[in-house]
């Protein structure tokens, strides 16, 4: 043996293997284990799915009672035919896992505060945030409650069994791409993960308040309550609510009592302030459109129901299409990977859809603890015991962190001395949120899947608590309806808009509004119902709805305006309407701008932009330059008006809504905030501000023009990001028009996440599309194959098939049989 060369070459081999088998630092994250990742028999090459891959197979699995047939169509949508409901949910779990395993598990890692476990210490603040807001606690509460319902327990369990049956079939080289990239392994699915996922939806749709309540408190303290009321008023002049104006509401059964000291300690003189920022602030535009038109307005004489929920645009998509056919029901629609049943869809008899209610169901209470042990807190004149909850956060490559969360009668103490920042120093803020008290989980959707008529619909949504939704409904029998349903707090005006004192019960919630007092209309005279996240009612509704700034205003106006005059409606008309890019906000704001612009004071270039703005058709279509110019001028006007007033704020504050500025300009030409407080010898008028705004916007527009990027779609630059925000796995620069105030509410990273149109004719005519693909594997041709059609406004006719039809349908390409064994 040649000892030295042998040792040297052995050591070199070992060193190379170790190097290639280690995750190395790469930017802010870590590289994959390169040798493993590139190994063609184990690494990512195994995820390169053949484009002519067959999905047909015969599976013998344990856990189902009878044979289940799944026919998969050319878009990779499965049509499940089972002989009982539990078998169907088992197979739905199996298919979700087969096509979306990494995503569904990752989403529960986010929701459950476990990202540090797979991504390392950098994610600890996000994990702690989600633990402390009560995500795990809330999921456990809901599961405990729903486990008492044998049917719901069996449903969620069957789904989990199906997911695990798939995981069991996975060979090491078959695990999804992202596990290999991040270097971890799939784990068993458990029912609590379904509830964790639903908690995440509640967070996304109702927890903006966890950030805005702090910011609003700061803003109120910074400006004083009077100025605050002007900038964040609770009246929207142009509101067109969900429930038509002049509807008479019954007398309220609850009359919340306003605390006596509200002026001194709540609205004016509180010193509560905080700049704690949520790591993932739910998007303000998390909204949606839905509407249903009665048969009297359609060409066929049958109702049409439409829904497009606006959410973050992600790959793999939040949605997964599925048809579930059992002896009890035959349902099609968009499902959540991570949860059984269809969430938005239709069955043989009815169709339903949802938009976010955006009501305020999350509040902070300022708790006074005896000492930093957080054992006792002052409440109603005595020291009360707090309970302590400990959650273990695992951290990749580091020891575990034991997170101690004190729990008061309001809820978990979100901010304390261990979780704080400069401005929450010394403050204990407990969070009270309808989501982390026990909800009804999936029960509502489960029942909607089976609903046959309007009574079933009402019973199904009656138990729904959080996140509050506008449930739209239409049936083959001709009924249409909409109801805003959820557990909504009976509030006194401004209750919960700011941090509230937590030392006594007078600021606590005094009751939940009874279901029969939630806003609802059935078969209204105007023959349509609609919602677009606007305030559900006018000010005659007897309960405080929460700060008006929570509610987008303009989409509701244009939807109702269009539906009011439409007749002889077809599904095609509805498709065009969902893709409509008309900006009703610009329609109201442009005349105000033009009124105050003195063109003599503009240079040639600025005049040219103003002239394009004048000629603009108010549509935010892909190639419209007027849309770019309008938005640039409005944004810089908002800066001109408010920047000086806010620049000295030391804490994060809320910026006034565009609707508020517009409303002020429409009401009054003398606007107090127009004056630039930094110029001592001059009082600026709104004319001065608009002139400056045009000049500043023009400078910016000129740069865009030089880069040949003045077209609206180029400026907006819509993208569909991979959940890990890796550009190579995302779809960038998607060419699509629209914007936040258009019915087609597509912004840069947000928009219609599932567009659905259901025409309730005898044989249902349904269309749908979402910006993604059925297969979550980035190596599949079905990963993002819907995106271009989605952007172009093309819809797929949804195949709603009987089993006999599915067996021989030309668009059915594959067949999986599940046999018990």
């Amino acid at each position: 043996m040649r000892i030295v060369p042998f040792l040297l070459s052995s050591i070199a081999t070992a060193a190379l293997v170790i190097g290639l088998n280690t995750q190395l630092p790469l930017g802010g994250s870590k590289s994959p284990r390169l040798g493993y990742f590139l190994s063609p028999q184990q690494g990512f090459w195994q995820n390169a799915e053949a484009t002519n891959q067959s999905y047909s197979e015969n599976l013998n699995i344990k856990g189902i009672k009878s044979k289940v047939d799944v026919f998969i169509d050319e878009r990779l949508v499965p049509h499940i035919y089972a002989e009982n409901d539990l078998d169907a949910y088992y197979v739905q779990g199996f298919l979700h896992a087969k096509f979306r395993l990494w995503q569904m598990e990752f989403q529960t890692y986010v929701a459950g505060g476990r990202l540090s476990e797979i991504l390392g210490e950098e994610r600890l603040p996000i994990d702690r945030f989600f633990r402390r807001i009560g995500m795990v606690y809330g999921a456990e509460q809901t599961m405990e409650r729903m486990n008492k319902d044998p049917l719901m327990k069996a449903t969620v369990d069957a789904y989990a069994d199906g997911v695990n049956a798939y995981i069991k079939t996975l060979k090491p080289e078959q695990i999804p791409f992202e596990y290999k990239l991040l270097d971890y392994q799939p784990e068993q699915w458990t029912p609590v993960k379904t509830y964790l996922f639903l908690m995440f939806m509640s967070y996304d749709l109702t927890a903006r308040g966890a950030t805005t309540d702090l910011k609003m408190t700061n803003t109120k303290n910074y400006l004083g309550y009077e100025a605050f009321e002007k900038l964040f008023p609770n009246i929207q002049d142009s509101l067109d609510p969900i429930i038509p104006k002049s509807t008479i509401f019954a007398k309220p059964s609850l009359n919340p009592i306003i605390p006596k000291d509200i002026d001194s300690i709540y609205l004016n003189k509180t010193n509560n302030s905080s700049e704690a920022i949520a790591p993932l602030i739910p998007n303000k535009n998390n909204g949606s459109n839905n509407w249903a038109v009665a048969g009297s307005k359609t060409a066929s004489g049958k109702p049409i129901l439409c829904n497009d929920p606006h959410l973050g645009l992600n790959l793999p998509s939040l949605w997964y299409e599925v048809q579930i056919n059992t002896p009890t029901h035959n349902t099609y629609g968009a499902s959540f990977p991570g949860s059984p049943a269809v969430i938005i869809g239709f069955n043989d008899s009815i169709a339903w859809g949802v938009t976010n209610a955006t009501r305020d169901v999350i509040d902070y209470y300022d708790i006074k603890f005896k000492d930093s042990t957080m054992d006792e807190y002052w409440y109603n004149g005595e020291w009360k015991k707090a309970t302590h909850r400990i959650e273990t956060i695992k951290i990749k490559g580091k020891p575990n962190l034991e997170e101690l969360i004190a729990v008061t009668n309001f809820g978990p103490v979100m901010y304390d001395r261990s979780f704080k920042n400069a401005s929450t120093e010394g403050k204990y803020l407990a969070i009270k949120w309808t989501a982390n008290t026990a909800g009804n989980g999936l029960q509502t959707f489960y029942q909607l899947n089976l609903a046959k008529n309007i009574t079933d619909y009402q019973n199904a949504i009656d138990t729904w608590t959080c996140p509050g939704q506008n449930f739209v409904f239409a049936s083959k029998s001709g009924d249409i309806a909409i109801k805003q349903q959820g557990a909504f707090i009976a509030r006194w005006k401004r209750q919960g808009d700011f941090i509230m004192p937590g030392t006594d019960s007078s600021y606590d919630w005094q009751g939940i509004i009874p279901n029969n007092e939630n806003p609802m209309i059935v078969n209204p005279a105007r023959a349509f119902v609609s919602s677009a996240n606007q305030m559900p009612t006018d000010s005659t509704y007897p309960y405080y709805l929460g700060a008006a700034t929570n509610f987008p205003l303009f989409r509701g106006i244009i939807i109702n305006r269009k539906l009011a005059v439409m007749n002889g409606i077809t599904a095609k008309d509805m498709q065009q309407m969902q893709m409509d890019n008309y900006n009703v906000f610009a329609e109201m704001a442009r005349p105000v701008l033009l009124k105050y612009i003195d063109e003599k004071l503009l240079n040639v270039n600025e005049q040219r932009y103003v002239s394009i703005l004048k000629k603009w058709n108010l549509k935010q279509d892909i190639a419209e330059q007027g849309a770019t110019i309008f938005n640039a001028i409005w944004d810089s006007l908002s800066q001109e008006v408010f920047q000086d007033d806010f620049q000295k704020a030391k804490q994060p504050i809320s910026w006034p809504d565009e609707a508020t500025l517009l409303q002020s300009l429409l009401r009054d030409s003398v606007y107090a905030f127009a004056d630039n407080i930094n110029t001592k010898n001059k009082v600026e008028t709104i004319q001065d501000d608009i002139l400056l705004a045009v000049k500043k916007a023009a400078a910016h527009l000129q740069q865009l023009e030089k880069a040949d990027k003045l077209n609206w779609a180029d400026v907006k630059d819509t993208r569909v990001n991979h959940l890990l925000k890796i550009p190579a796995l995302s779809r960038l620069h998607v060419s699509i028009g629209g914007g936040k105030n258009c019915i087609n509410a597509t912004t840069d990273i947000h928009g219609p996440s599932w567009r659905m149109i259901v025409h309730l004719t005898d044989e249902i005519e349904a269309y749908g599309i979402y910006p993604g693909g059925q297969n979550g594997n980035p190596g599949s041709r079905f990963y993002d194959n819907f995106i271009d059609s989605w952007a172009a406004g093309i819809y797929y006719r949804l195949l709603f098939l009987s089993k006999q039809a599915a067996e021989k349908h030309e668009k059915i390409k594959w067949h999986i049989t599940f046999i018990n064994g």
Binding site: T13, L16, N21, G35, P40, Q41, W45, A48, G779, R781
Partner: protein, 116 residues
């Protein structure tokens, strides 16, 4: 032609042990080592046989997978790593990495025996 036999055996055994995906990805280190012990050559030739054997194997499997996939995934990974989106470069680097590890293991195997 000892080297041809060695290349073929290295590739074949690396493939065979690679079918046991429960084992680590670098398990072919042992087979390449054994081949170099069994078929004794000069160190440089042993290295080349080890290197080429696994390089060809890895490139071959990658190309087969990639062609069937119409470069969908390889193009994404070649942007991710980053290799400018070139799937050919990615395939080459894949082969190079497998080959280097195997070549070094073969060199160690060769050095286990006295020079002939």
């Amino acid at each position: 032609m000892k080297i041809t036999t060695a290349i073929f055996l290295t590739g074949f055994l690396a493939f065979a042990i690679g079918l046991f995906t429960i084992l680590p990805w670098w398990s072919f280190v042992f087979t390449s080592f054994v081949v170099a012990v069994a078929i004794h050559q000069k160190p440089i030739l042993a290295f080349l046989a080890g290197f080429i054997g696994v390089l060809i194997l890895w490139v071959l499997i990658a190309v087969i997978k990639d062609t069937a996939n119409e470069h969908i995934l390889s193009t994404k990974v070649a942007h991710l790593l980053p290799l400018g989106g070139s799937y050919w470069l990615l395939i080459f680097i894949t082969g190079l990495i497998g080959g280097l590890v195997s070549g070094l293991a073969a060199t160690a195997g060769c050095n286990l025996r006295k020079t002939s």
